[in-house]
């Protein structure tokens, strides 16, 4: 077994004050527990299961203004409010709020914690009702389609016949594509952002590095760390550090850090974080483990790896969208090398082949994959224009 580097520590960087975090039972948002089994792609039927979700805005009388936001790999349902564990602003605060592009005074926004997640939805760190102990690795392996099936149960429960829009970046974009493909009549508009219709070998490779880092941590205990009262924090932090590099771009990293040294005038001829970029990555790793579960990371990365929408449709991606009436807007970013424009364009070509109504914009930015979470005026203006156009067609009144 590979020996890993010493635990990433950030001198002077306080870890999150656990006493500030809301206890799990008092976290904001809602939970829906469904008794009826959820048929999973693996053949297992999951029952009962819980979907934790949060909403913003108000559902209108004819229930036509609902937007489902699908979160990315390590996101959660706290889109536009301080995170209950970290206290940091919501991950899409920049887009969601009164008067913002995803306008909470106009739309009813829903975000679920994905199946397999660790913020209240059924996942490996939750208690298996059959045994009274945490699922750990006995939790069934789930897929993007399973996540979407669970979300659909919630949308049914909320009495929403058709979502005005399903939107998401990265893994959220995969869920968006899955929604549009599996339930076209339930999706008026779909916005897959910085995503792909299948995980590439490179995508799988990076995920495997992350999983191996977790499993190489002695505290992982073959997945049974909860009962042992430990956490594979080092492994999960390394996984996050490796992944975080893929979310940025070389120019963005260079612009932010260059070869600048961390609180020192000269290199130390040692293995401390001499460089700012090292310190930054260590901080990313450490703050991540405070809010994320290692086994969830295994399950959710696996779900991404298994995603291949064309494979489910005879190898022809266009077949996933035949006859669709959904209006699509695909958005990519020039410096995103994790889900590059070419992969997003493949989705667009498939939609063209299905004669679907599709817009496609590539946004010029050096911020890499993370651009979908950041202040990118061109992206936001495009999204606003698309949603306004769709709202007009859907007959949603302007405010």
């Amino acid at each position: 077994m590979t020996v890993f580097a010493p635990p990433p520590t950030v001198p002077g960087q306080p870890s999150i004050d656990a006493s500030r975090a809301a206890p799990e039972s008092e976290r904001p948002g809602f939970r829906l527990t469904v008794a009826e089994p959820l048929p999973l792609d693996s053949g297992v039927a999951l029952a009962p299961y819980t979907i934790a979700y949060q909403t913003y805005g108000t559902l209108n009388a004819d229930r036509s203004n609902a937007i489902l936001i699908c979160h990315a790999l390590t996101g959660d349902q706290y889109v536009a409010e301080p995170h209950p564990i970290t206290g940091k602003p919501g991950w899409w605060d920049i887009l969601v709020g009164p008067g913002k592009v995803l306008d909470t005074e106009r739309y009813f926004l829903i975000c679920t914690n994905v199946l397999g997640g660790c913020m209240g939805s059924s996942g490996p760190s939750e208690i298996n009702p059959a045994t009274g102990t945490p699922w750990n690795l006995s939790f069934p392996v789930i897929t993007i389609a399973d996540m979407v099936r669970a979300q659909k149960r919630l949308i049914d429960h909320l009495g929403i016949e058709q979502l005005f829009c399903v939107i998401g970046g990265s893994m959220g974009g995969m869920q968006t594509l899955q929604w549009a493909s599996a339930y076209p009549e339930r999706v008026f508009a779909a916005v897959p952002i910085a995503t792909a219709a299948r995980h590439s070998a490179q995508n799988i490779a990076f995920h495997e590095v992350g999983r191996q880092a977790i499993m190489a941590d002695g505290n992982w205990c073959n997945g049974r760390y909860i009962e042992r009262g430990v956490r594979p924090a080092r492994g999960l932090a390394v996984a996050r550090m490796a992944a975080h590099i893929t979310y940025l771009s070389e120019p963005a990293l260079h612009r932010k850090f260059g070869r600048n040294l961390q609180n020192r005038a000269a290199i130390s001829f040692g293995f401390d974080a001499d460089f700012q970029v090292e310190n930054y990555l260590r901080h990313q790793g450490i703050s991540f483990v405070e809010r994320f579960d290692a086994n969830s990371y295994l399950y959710i990365t696996r779900a991404c790896d298994y995603f291949d929408l064309a494979a489910e449709h005879g190898g022809v991606l266009a077949n996933a969208f035949r006859g669709t009436k959904t209006r699509f807007c695909s958005i990519s970013f020039t410096s995103d090398w994790l889900y590059p424009t070419a992969e997003n364009r493949e989705i667009v070509h498939a939609l063209n082949a299905a004669a679907a109504n599709v817009s496609f914009v590539e946004v010029e930015t050096d911020k890499g994959h993370d651009a979908f979470l950041l202040d990118e005026p061109e992206f936001h203006a495009t999204l606003r224009g698309f949603l306004d156009g769709c709202a007009e067609h859907r007959g949603l009144n302007r405010r």
């Binding site: 266009a318 209006r327 807007c329 695909s330 667009v348 070509h349 498939a350 063209n352 082949a353 299905a354 004669a355 109504n357 599709v358 817009s359 496609f360 914009v361 590539e362 010029e364 005026p377 061109e378 936001h380 203006a381 495009t382 606003r384 224009g385 698309f386 306004d388 156009g389 769709c390 007009e392």
Partner: protein, 218 residues
């Protein structure tokens, strides 16, 4: 256009550029239209809002695409040479290729795609047989530059220029049916000239054609 630019004001028919208005007049209300090289969406916006078409666009420039999508139009970034092969046969009632054919790498292949994907293809292009071109070349011995074709020979995107008669020859060779044709003066107004005649080829600054594949022509 700045990101905060407001919606385009709905345009009155008269506000549309003259040559685009002639294109718009050829299109039946309520039909499915793909506008290739749609620029900032002037024609498409008009068609969607005044002719109730199910309109889509394709545009090479990112600025143009973004402006269109911001205005609620369904437009993708792409070009006629590379991005037409995915579209299914007869996906649209009309495909518009306005002032773009001469900038494609393989105009004959583009034309084949147009009449395959569209029941009708509406194509306009600058006429290199126009008297002003001929005169410039004859008198000055240099590549002509005109208001319609303002570029230098070395920086022009227009790599496959042709005359109206050349274009008609190509349509004949490709068994493409010319359903309608109009010749336009430098202001984009229609001439009453036989487009297959030598006079039109000399006087017209632009040709505007409605084409169909042999199997689709009526």
């Amino acid at each position: 256009m700045s990101p905060d630019a407001p919606f385009l004001a709905p345009q009155k028919p008269a506000a549309l550029r003259e040559d685009l208005r002639l294109v718009a007049d050829m299109i039946m209300p309520g039909s499915r239209v793909l506008d290739l090289g749609c620029g900032d969406g002037e024609l498409l916006y008009f068609l969607v809002h005044h002719k109730n078409v199910d309109g889509r666009g394709m545009e090479l420039s990112q600025g143009g695409v973004n402006a269109c999508v911001r205005n609620g139009l369904s437009v993708i970034q792409g070009d006629a040479d590379n991005d037409l092969r995915d579209y299914p046969t007869q996906a649209f009632d009309y495909i518009v290729l306005s002032q773009t054919l001469q900038a494609t790498r393989h105009p004959h292949e583009v034309l084949r795609h147009l009449v395959r994907i569209g029941r009708h293809a509406i194509v306009s292009f600058p006429n290199f047989g126009h008297w002003r071109m001929r005169l410039r070349l004859l008198k000055e011995g240099r590549m002509p530059r005109t208001p319609v074709l303002p570029h230098h020979w070395y920086d022009t995107p227009n790599i496959h220029l042709c005359t109206i008669l050349d274009f008609i020859d190509l349509c004949d060779e490709e068994s493409i049916v010319v359903e309608r044709n109009v010749t336009l003066d430098e202001q984009g107004r229609a001439y009453r000239l036989d487009p297959r005649g030598r006079l039109a080829n000399l006087l017209a600054a632009q040709g505007l054609f409605m084409l169909a594949g042999k199997e689709n022509s009526h």
